[in-house]
Symmetry: C2
Subunit: 197 residues, 2 copies
């Protein structure tokens, strides 16, 4: 007897509208710098404002869905790292971070949603965030056992550093790859002390 949120299938037009709204949001959030208005999202999606609010209780929920979908991609990448990184556990972890960072770097809409959407945005990503952490724990544990990962590094540090790198992606002309590489260097275990003498 499992408890599932009973989501009966949507009417076809409603489903289409929902997709149009998300597509419009992605387009507008990605392009416009100052801020995006729900009226514009509705217009570009070809629906009334009320329809946007029928699908998403408020603006943050709409942003939250963009973030949630990005997390689904993060998790796919993390799963690949778990499955295929057996041989080089540290490098598998590092490369998953690089790929996920590149993934946000290429998605201005989600970045905007994550950064300026406030905490509430992540309320809509609960399940995916948990799955992310489960996968992170597996990657971290394995890399730690291989001795290449700094033993003080924790799985929860992964979203932390991702957030840090992400925050610097479109500011100050900085180079996020350089930032991430720096962090990855910090994640490496210190090499064993040289043989005495």
């Amino acid at each position: 007897m499992t408890v599932t949120t009973a989501t009966r299938p949507m009417r076809a037009d409603a489903r289409r509208n929902r997709e149009s709204i998300l597509a419009a949001a992605r387009e507008l959030f990605a392009e416009s710098r100052p801020d995006v208005q729900i009226d514009d999202v509705a217009r570009v999606a070809g629906v009334g404002v009320g329809t946007v609010y029928r699908h998403f209780p408020d603006k943050q929920a709409l942003m939250g869905e963009l973030v949630r979908e990005r997390f689904v991609l993060f998790n796919e990448r993390m799963r690949t790292a778990v499955e295929e990184g057996e041989g080089e556990p540290f490098e598998a972890l590092a490369q998953a971070l690089r790929d996920n960072a590149a993934s946000v770097a290429g998605d201005a809409a989600t970045r905007f949603a994550m950064m300026s959407g406030g905490e509430r945005v992540f309320e809509y990503v609960g399940e995916e965030k948990e799955e992310f952490l489960r996968l992170a724990r597996r990657l971290v544990l394995r890399a730690r056992r291989s001795g290449e990962l700094n033993p003080r590094f924790q799985a929860t540090d992964i979203p932390m550093v991702m957030c840090g790198v992400c925050a610097t992606i479109d500011k100050g002309g900085w180079d996020w790859r350089r930032h991430l590489d720096l962090v990855i260097e910090g994640m490496r275990a210190e090499p064993p002390a040289p043989p005495a003498g």
Copy 2:
């Protein structure tokens, strides 16, 4: 013949008002989570809204001044590191970063202004930002010469990593000290290759 922005002294009541407004802004930005209204700033400062706008062209300018004042403190700390860190250049740099991060960590108002104020906020901090970079360059150069700093680390990486750490200060229950320590480990030069054999 130097060009200075001719700022004639303000009338005493105007100066007092300006200070009240900044104090009110600091108080409100630090406390209220969702967002702060200019009307509230004016009320707490005991002035009319128009007075706020007479002193600060818009909300971002007000936030910008909070950030600017924090940068003045950053720079004081950086100068101390330059002057007193001769003996241990890497540690001097690292400790300046730790102290400045602690400084923002204890100032929710500025943090809020930096994070949610958008790029425009930093337009009001130009001079202090340049001075910060000058000091950063001196610290980095010296630490690099000592051989303790990763030679690929640049002065402009300092605001970048500060921004990254800062972005994670009041989210997700993360530990910013841990985050910064990780980055500092990444900044360290790799130890010389062990003697062949």
